[in-house]
């Protein structure tokens, strides 16, 4: 589903953030990406929805090579991928419902009635069905993160990527969020999560990719802990 082959990324200032990275995430798999701060985790995730382009190598998502995607088809690619950000990136002048409905409005394929149904289904999954009319400003960090997840899954993407989704959350909430991701994996969604919370990802019992200064290394739990 996600395939990186000899991918390197050199930022415009010349800094090489990724160096010859190759890995693969199977359809329906849930994988963690870890590494020290500055190791290149966010860089890897940003290249999947073409927020950054690779400098070298090849990235294939759902059997499509990203280098073949023309600029005007980038939005369509992003619509097929659910993205969760550390700072959740909600629109603060809209309520919970409208935030979650946004991807469906963007895709333009849904009747308003269908939008309402799907948004409530997504909010139900993250346990915020009762809060749909609330302003997102009134939510706690964990609640905001869950709204972000509902927004990412509402259009039923095949791939979910999350960059430090539990960055600001306490351990109990973090565990809850990870369990949520696991539930999406169980219904066939491919999930790739960047996190440096080794304790948390260790408990999840999933495959772990480790980055070190832009290169993939063998993950060694003892050493990192």
């Amino acid at each position: 589903m996600i395939q990186f082959t000899n991918v390197s990324k050199r930022y415009t200032n010349g800094f090489v953030a990724l160096n010859n990275v190759s890995f693969q995430v199977e359809r329906g798999e849930m994988v963690f990406l870890t590494g020290h701060s500055g190791a290149g985790k966010s860089t890897v995730l940003k290249m999947i929805p073409l927020l950054e382009r690779q400098s070298e190598g090849q990235i294939v998502i759902d059997n499509k090579a990203l280098s073949d995607i023309k600029r005007r088809y980038i939005p369509a690619l992003r619509r097929d991928i659910g993205i969760i950000f550390q700072d959740s990136k909600l629109l603060n002048d809209r309520n919970v419902f409208d935030n979650v409905a946004l991807p469906l409005l963007i895709s333009g394929d849904h009747h308003p009635r269908e939008i309402g149904r799907r948004v409530r289904a997504a909010l139900d999954k993250v346990g915020l069905l009762e809060r749909e009319q609330e302003s997102t400003v009134a939510l706690s960090g964990g609640e905001r993160q869950r709204v972000g997840i509902a927004r990412a899954v509402v259009n039923r993407p095949k791939v979910l990527i999350a960059d430090e989704p539990t960055g600001n959350l306490d351990p109990a909430l973090s565990q809850e969020i990870m369990t949520l991701f696991e539930q999406f994996q169980q219904v066939g969604v491919t999930v790739l999560i960047a996190s440096h919370d080794l304790g948390l990802i260790g408990r999840m019992n999933k495959r772990i990719l480790a980055l070190d200064h832009g290169q993939l290394v063998e993950f060694q739990a003892e050493e990192s802990l």
Binding site: P49, L51, P75, R79, L90, D93, I106, G108, D109, E114
Partner: protein, 325 residues
Amino acid sequence: MSSSERRPPSVRRNRPSLKARLQNYLALHFHVLTSSLGLLGRMPLSTFMAAMVIGVALALPTMLHVSLSKVQSLGAAWQESAQISLFLRDTTSENGALALQSEVKGWSEISSVKYISAEQALEEFRQGSGLGDVIQMLDKNPLPAVLVVYPKLDQSTTLDTEVLLSKLRARPEVEQAQLDLEWVQRLHGLIDLANRAVLVFGLLLALAVLFVIGNTIRMAIQNRRDEIEVIKLIGGSNAFVRRPFLYSGVWYGLFGGLVAWLLVNVLLLLLDGPVQQLAALYGSDFALGLIGLDTTLLLLLAGPLLGLMGAWLVAGRRIRTIEPV
């Protein structure tokens, strides 16, 4: 339960039917239309200011256009009531002239006919020109007798002066029939010129409206930069991001058009009294009245159209510069 739910996840989602897609499309546009109105409602002051500026800019040429077309219709009325001079053949006797006078006076389109005999004409000329001595030297009066025909002032009978002229020319007593149009033509020349000036003026102000709306939209985009960024991050195309701003432009234009409509009508109402008094001094029942339906429609179409254009010129370019691409 929708059909897409029953399909296995490996099957690519089918596109909905054309009818369903059209329905979705219209519903979404309606949503954007109303939500863009809501956006404006959230910044009432700048919306109000923009509408006022656009309104004034649209009101100026509209006011000129409306007044000019009133004057123009007045000029047309005057043209219809312009006097016609019939120069009679010198073979026509005084009785023949008087007979013609009373006959023409009987025509429905004629208000009055004045007879000026050759002697009277000469006398008038003598007094008017101060060439009395020269005229004394003439052994024969060179001036013909004249019938001055005044068509009816009544505007309801649309009078074709050309038809009337040829009817009069056909008379054997008449040597020459002349429509005294010079000043009416001059008025028309002036009105033509003024119309052209209004057009140029209007185009310049339309340009100003474009700039005002473009600038307002540019600031709105700047204010919503973070939001635009998020929308693009999750797959909103530039066109999707642009849409509410285009609608905002349309709303600004519509509000501006309404403001202009109100302004012009208020001005016309204020001016109508004095203008009527002035016209009464000249024996006319000329009145300004209010904006006509056609001008109203023009304003309410031109406003939104300019708004759309102004927004369109700015929005696409601005939005494309906001990362991510």
